[in-house]
Amino acid sequence: MSQVTSNPQALDPTRGLATELYETHQQSIYRRTDRIFAMLMAIQWVFGIVAAIFISPRTWVGLTSHTHPHVWAAVFLGLAINVLPIFLALVHPGKTITRFVISVTQMLWSALLIHLTGGRIETHFHVFGSLAFLAFYRDWRVLIPATVVVAGDHLLRGLYFPQSVYGVLTPNSWRWLEHAGWVIFEDIFLIASCLRGQQEMRQIAQRAADLNTAKEAAEAATRAKSEFLANM
């Protein structure tokens, strides 16, 4: 009796199958999102190069000019940023480390694109779009490294070069929290969305397992009935 109560699967025979279905579904989402991000990384790289060539192709000294450092940054820094996440997405799709590296990398892309487009306020929306995109994983933990990168960047630059992030030389020492606060504001909704998504996935898996068990029971009953009729 005590054996029965300590084994939940014995109480609910479909639970094991439901967990298996849930994990399979979760892995397929992780793998698919990893592939999407691998493509997105490549697209962002091309976009960064095109933006640099279009916005700041050359830098000038008097009458002479040479290729602008932004173009080299887009090509080589963009390539360096992309190497690891694309490698992991192709070789280790679905792994936790792959998602975390992609999360950090996506924020690095936000920073690079902001620089390549001359600090346009519109490009800062890339941060918020990326967070929403990361929520496609339905794994709320992925949002943490991205948030840490954004908050850490603002904290460090606010301490050592405040003009670059706040436009004033002596900002309020807590202003970085205001910027990070908006990211956390979005995180709250995305985390809630991820948790709800996971809950729904569990419910779907449980229903599928129930259906599967019922189907097997029905098939067994049909077989028994057929055997009974055949033996009459």
Partner: protein, 214 residues
């Protein structure tokens, strides 16, 4: 054993990746945050300048290189500034036009963007003469003179090279024009200027902007 070797390899790859990204980011950061050649400002409006000065309200002079992509952000900041001061400031943008340049060399998008800002006059700075009179050496160098011709501010109006957004230079000019702050006599407010050098090394040396190589 095989597992630990693989783990070590991944640690090395991860460290190498982080280091290469950090180095690249640091170099980009270094380029953008390195200020240009500082100006040798005139404490009073240069008497030999051909630019018009308003004797009723402050006058702003911005000197730019017409092909410098970094100065696009400067023109954007000027547009924001002019929108904020509401006709309490006159502004002149002097666009560099070297004597050796081809005809129309200075007629770039920067020229047209500056000309489209209400209250801004755009002129060609033939052979950098006005830059010389005002003491500018870097594209984006901005001067603010009071109605009586006294220098109130000199420097840049972007936060870093080619980077738009709130910045100390624009804030300083805005507060001076609106009378929210003042510059002590002989001590104009200043900020770093970010942009392309207006002149090549030999010209900058001849003009005294930079030390001459020995």
């Amino acid at each position: 054993m095989r597992h630990s070797l693989r783990s070590a390899l991944y640690v090395i790859i991860g460290t190498g990746w982080a280091a290469s990204v950090a180095i690249g980011g640091w170099r980009l950061w270094g380029f953008e945050s390195t200020a240009g050649i500082p100006a040798r400002p005139q404490p009073m409006w240069p008497a030999d300048s051909k630019l018009a000065r308003n004797i009723a309200i402050p006058s702003l002079v911005l000197l730019i290189h017409p092909h410098c992509p970094c100065s696009r952000a400067t023109i954007g900041e000027l547009a924001r500034l002019m929108a904020d001061v509401h006709e309490k400031l006159t502004a002149t943008v002097a666009v560099l036009c070297p004597a050796a340049a081809a005809e129309g060399w200075e007629q770039t998008d920067l020229w047209h963007s500056a000309a489209a800002i209400p209250g801004v006059i755009v002129v060609a700075d033939i052979d950098g003469r006005e830059s010389g009179r005002f003491g500018a050496a870097t594209s984006g160098q901005t001067f603010l003179y009071a109605a009586d011709g006294r220098l109130l501010f000199q420097g840049g109006i972007t936060e870093s090279r080619g980077h738009s957004g709130d910045n100390a230079g624009r804030s300083a000019i805005l507060s001076l024009v609106l009378g929210l702050s003042s510059a002590p006599p002989g001590q104009p407010l200043h900020s770093p200027v970010y942009g392309c050098p207006l002149f090549d090394d030999s010209t900058a040396c001849e003009r005294g902007d930079t030390p001459c190589p020995r």
